[in-house]
């Protein structure tokens, strides 16, 4: 048998395989008479058409496959990719493979693995890079992914002709920040990918993903230019594309975007309107915020009168808003799927307060508003709305007022107010707006003096990771509580303190030992559910510590 340069997969029929295959498909009864050529010359005809065709297809098939293969001239090798930094240790790489196949809470651990690798300037081994392509992780994941495997992923996407990721199409000037060395082919590839994707015209052509990625790059490089360019073609785009492009305004959002976003409130697509309704509250000077301020003024009013001897007396007057088209335009409308069941007007009031600027309450000090809200009939929607506004604006005066007043209310120091779950929740959310050191200091004080339920409520929010000193204090507090009676242990079952502690605690050897000690000291007949939670907490923390140890190995 000769091995000519025939491609088995090609349509070329130099060896007669195509004709033989066609005969096999239509059948010997209908196919033209067999011709003994090439390798078939040695096969004697049997007189049975089916048998002859069977012999023919067998012999010629093997002959055809034996001659398969392509010449070197039709092959273009890939450009080599130069590695741009040291790889993570094998143990850490093996851990990554184990983690990335899991789901659920492990996603946070994978994101942490990536973060640790990025902090140490280590790269994901190239054979594992494709595993990272579909991992979304946290909001910060694109930056971390770029740090540990950015050039490798860009190289792969370029080879496969995929759309570049949004984080790959940034400002070309920023590319000097990558770890690639000057003049090497990696940097050239990177520049090639970015330059190709970020040219101004590029976002008008290509697949939806490519256009979206290109527009993000355009917006990052020139927010005003991107907006002007989008305005010109906005109405001719499909609804999904309009929504995608408008989402890119999160990058470099500025007052100059306000007129365009305002027009988007009247867009025919609900998705576009919702994006505009989400972005406009971030612009303090927008007409949207002015309308919200006016609605606050119409809904809430404090009557002020002098007391008999000294001081002033306040009385909050609430005028619940009515459903109206202009409210719907701004995204203020009741939902029957609201998490907490309230009347339609109470929902409208809460949503107005959520989106209103805190300066709309300038007529009175923040503390007066909070006190009056607590004492009024509509305390719950007003508190929820005010706390949501505080989360958005992080205003120090409002934060102090909310924390102080709600703390007093919780402690029963305000006459006529009894602490309840809503007050504790609003207080916890207000405390969570403190910077981490202050939050930890506040909660550390609570650990010494406050009730167990307040600690559990407060730790439901707050920083994603704790400092070592706070972790130590928290473990001491848990260990102390576990030594107490049922009244001390049962509340620990509620809330997310224990279940989240494994992911939030400082990942040090001391923390791991403290968590393991807590678990090992549990009595045999201990609460099964809480034991399970504590075990999970200890194992999660141990895994996080192990990840760091594995990065330290070589």
């Amino acid at each position: 048998m000769s091995a000519g340069s025939v491609n088995a997969g090609s349509s070329a029929d130099a060896d007669g395989w195509g004709l033989t295959l066609a005969a096999a498909l239509i059948g010997a009864d209908r196919a033209p008479a067999r011709q003994a050529i090439g390798p078939l010359a040695d096969i004697p005809a049997s007189g049975d058409a089916g048998g002859d065709l069977l012999a023919q297809i067998g012999a010629l098939g093997a002959y055809h496959l034996a001659g398969a293969g392509l010449g070197p001239d039709v092959f273009v090798p890939l450009e080599p990719f130069a590695q741009v930094g040291p790889e993570c240790p094998p143990a850490a790489a093996a851990r990554f493979v184990t983690l990335i196949g899991s789901c659920g809470a492990i996603a946070g651990i994978i994101a942490e693995w990536c973060e640790v690798a990025a902090e140490r300037g280590l790269r994901l081994p190239p054979e594992l890079v494709p595993l990272l392509e579909d991992f979304r992780g946290t909001a910060d994941q694109p930056r971390v992914t770029q740090a540990i495997a950015g050039p490798e992923l860009a190289w792969l996407r370029q080879i496969y002709g995929d759309a570049p990721a949004e984080d790959e199409v940034g400002d070309p000037d920023d590319e000097d920040d990558t770890e690639s060395t000057d003049g090497d082919e990696t940097a050239a590839t990177q520049r090639d990918v970015s330059a190709k994707a970020s040219s101004v015209e590029d976002w008008l052509e290509g697949s939806p993903q490519q256009r979206r990625a290109a527009f993000y790059g355009f917006r990052r490089r020139d927010p005003d230019g991107a907006r002007t360019a989008l305005e010109a073609v906005f109405k001719s785009e499909k609804a999904d594309a309009r929504e995608q492009f408008l989402n890119a305004f999160e990058v470099g959002l500025a007052p100059a975007d306000e007129p365009f976003l305002e027009t988007c409130l009247d867009d025919r697509a609900g998705g576009v309107r919702r994006v505009a309704q989400r972005l406009l509250p971030q612009l303090q000077t927008s007409r949207f915020m002015e309308r919200m301020a006016a609605r606050v003024a119409a809904a809430l009013h404090i009557d002020e009168s002098k007391k008999l001897l000294v001081g002033k007396k306040h009385q909050l007057v609430v005028t619940l808003p009515e459903e109206a088209p202009d409210l719907v335009r701004d995204g203020i409308e009741p939902s029957q799927y609201a998490w907490k069941k309230r009347g339609a007007k109470a929902q409208l009031l809460e949503q107005i307060l959520r989106n209103a600027p805190l300066k709309a309450f300038a007529a009175h000090p923040p503390r007066v508003w909070v006190e009056q809200a607590l004492q009024g009939e509509w305390s719950e929607p007003i508190l929820v709305g005010l706390v949501a506004a505080l989360w958005r604006e992080r205003d120090p005066a409002w934060r102090s007022a909310l924390i102080e007043t709600l703390s007093e209310a919780h402690a029963g120091k305000i006459s006529g107010i009894k602490s309840n779950a809503e007050i504790r929740d609003a207080l916890a959310k207000s405390i969570a707006t403190l910077p981490q050191p202050e939050w930890e200091e506040t909660v550390a004080k609570m650990l010494k003096s406050a009730g167990i339920e307040q600690v559990i409520d407060t730790t439901a929010y707050g920083p994603e990771t704790y400092s070592s000193s706070f972790t130590e204090a928290l473990f001491d507090w848990i260990a102390f509580r576990l030594r107490g009676g049922p009244e001390s242990i049962v509340p620990l079952r509620k809330g997310s303190l224990i279940s989240r502690l494994g992911q939030r605690a400082d990942p040090s050897d001391d923390s791991e030992a403290a968590a393991a000690a807590i678990v090992s000291r549990l009595p045999e007949d201990f609460d099964t559910y809480l034991r399970h939670q504590l075990n999970n907490m200890s194992e999660t923390l141990s895994l996080r510590v192990t990840i760091r140890r594995e990065f330290a190995t070589r």
Partner: protein, 459 residues
């Protein structure tokens, strides 16, 4: 012998065991950990009243556990070996407790018994009865082959285009007749035919009708060769009998000459078919350059036997099954150890690889695939292709071949970094299915049972 975590996980019988084994690989869960040489043992708390006692011999590797799991190795044995791989210093030397000593002594006794049995003179054979049985089987197979021949000739007269609409039972009925006729090798090939027709078109694979025609052509070739066994040399005849499904007896296999070498374990491949798991361990001799396929079968009640892991070297003797060209073999005496880093043994350029493929087809034209070892090839794209249909391939100065498209190809491209690689894979005349590669003194294998897009580094 030190096994890496990846090699230990390759021993797991299934994906859930791999995951569960990793969960057990936590040092605090274990008590009484100790070792004597390659034998490690420990106790772990399970759902039972008493802790499970687990012992493993890393040189086997082999293990035993007192848990009720039917999987082998169980998650505890995997966990124990993983603990040792992660922190070998954590397991100190110690004196074997009774239950460990009992297991190791039992293994030694069984090995000695097997050796003595092998050395013992064979029992007298009733040659007359044996010849009668053999003739009865030959007659049954011969009748089955006649029936298959008639069926195939009918198919060719009808035309293969007309069988697209045939139900599965059409093919299964013929396969069943072949099973009854004691020709399981042919039955397996017939049972695979409807799958070829139903397969979705893929880059790097023949079109369904073409694949069916080739498979039927191979069946015809086996039938044709089976009629003239007397005119072939014994190895060729044995190859055809193996393709039909005649078993090779243990005595016959024991009489085969051994071939000693330092065999590099290039890769493992696993094919699962309903209740049967077929594992191929691909070996390449470092001195003689030969290739061998150790094929083992496992069922839920009968797990796969231990085998050296990919990335290890098996230094010892193997014996090839009768056949031409020789490929399938069994392991005999030998020891496994970590492979030295370096190029794939016996690799060559693409033209030589294609010549080997053509030669193998000339000797056994019913072959589906043949292993290729290629040296210093580059991954690239066939010119003229673009967009979603772009076709990845490998090439050097002597030629180029397409690569089979599957999710892990992306990891292969990434690991190569566009640099020259040594590649081991299976070739079917259309595309190469990559199984292992070596690049700049690093060796990677395609995981046998994990479809995710990554490669496992083994050296």
């Amino acid at each position: 012998m030190g096994l890496t975590a990846a090699q230990i996980l390759d021993l797991a019988p299934d994906a859930s065991s791999r995951k569960a084994g990793q969960d057990q690989a936590k040092l605090p869960k274990w008590s009484g950990l100790a070792r004597t040489g390659d034998v490690i043992w420990g106790e772990i708390k399970g759902s039972g009243a008493n802790p499970y006692r687990t012992v493993a011999d890393l040189s086997g590797p082999a293990s035993k556990c007192s848990c009720p799991s039917r999987k082998f190795p169980c998650k505890h044995a995997l966990g124990l070996m993983l603990v040792d791989a992660a922190s070998p210093d954590a397991i100190k030397d110690g004196e074997q407790p009774d239950w460990v000593a009992a297991w190791t002594n039992g293994r030694a006794t069984r090995a000695a018994t097997a050796e003595a049995k092998a050395d013992a003179p064979p029992k007298p054979v009733d040659e007359k009865a044996q010849a009668k049985r053999r003739q009865a089987r030959e007659d049954k197979v011969s009748a089955a082959l006649e029936e298959l021949d008639l069926w195939l000739r009918d198919l060719m007269r009808r035309g293969l285009a007309s069988v697209r609409t045939e139900p599965y039972a059409f093919w299964d009925r013929m396969a069943g007749r072949l099973v009854d006729g004691q020709a399981p090798g042919l039955a397996r090939r017939v049972r695979a035919l409807p799958g070829l027709l139903a397969a979705a078109p893929r880059i790097g694979a023949p079109k369904p009708e073409e694949a069916l025609a080739l498979a039927i052509g191979r069946l015809g070739l086996i039938l044709r060769a089976s009629r003239r066994l007397e005119g072939l040399n014994p190895e060729q005849a044995a190859g055809i009998r193996a393709a039909i499904g005649f078993p090779v007896s243990a005595e016959e296999l024991a009489a085969r000459p051994g071939r000693s070498d330092q065999w590099a374990v290039l890769a493992h491949t696993i094919e699962e078919d309903d209740k049967l798991t077929a594992r191929s361990v691909w070996l390449a001799g470092r001195q003689n350059g030969g290739l061998a396929q150790i094929l083992d079968y496992g069922t839920p009640g009968s797990p796969l036997p231990p085998a050296p892991a990919a990335g290890q070297d098996f230094t010892g003797e193997i014996a090839f099954y009768p056949g031409d060209p020789p490929l399938r073999a069994i392991l005999r005496e030998g020891k496994s150890a970590a492979s030295p880093a370096g190029p794939l043994p016996g690799s060559n350029d693409i033209a030589s690889g294609l010549a080997n493929w053509a030669e193998a087809l000339a000797r056994a034209p019913w072959l589906d695939r043949w292993p290729l070892r290629l040296s210093q090839v580059r991954i690239g794209i066939a010119a003229g292709d673009g967009g979603q249909d772009r076709r990845f391939g490998i090439g050097d100065a002597t030629g180029s071949l397409p690569l089979f498209v599957e999710p892990r190809l992306r990891a292969l491209v990434s690991a190569s970094g566009g640099r020259p690689i040594d590649l081991f894979g299976l070739y079917d005349g259309y595309a190469v299915i990559p199984l292992a590669l070596s690049v700049e003194r690093r060796t990677y294998v395609v995981p046998a049972q994990d479809p995710r897009p990554f490669l496992r580094r083994v050296a």
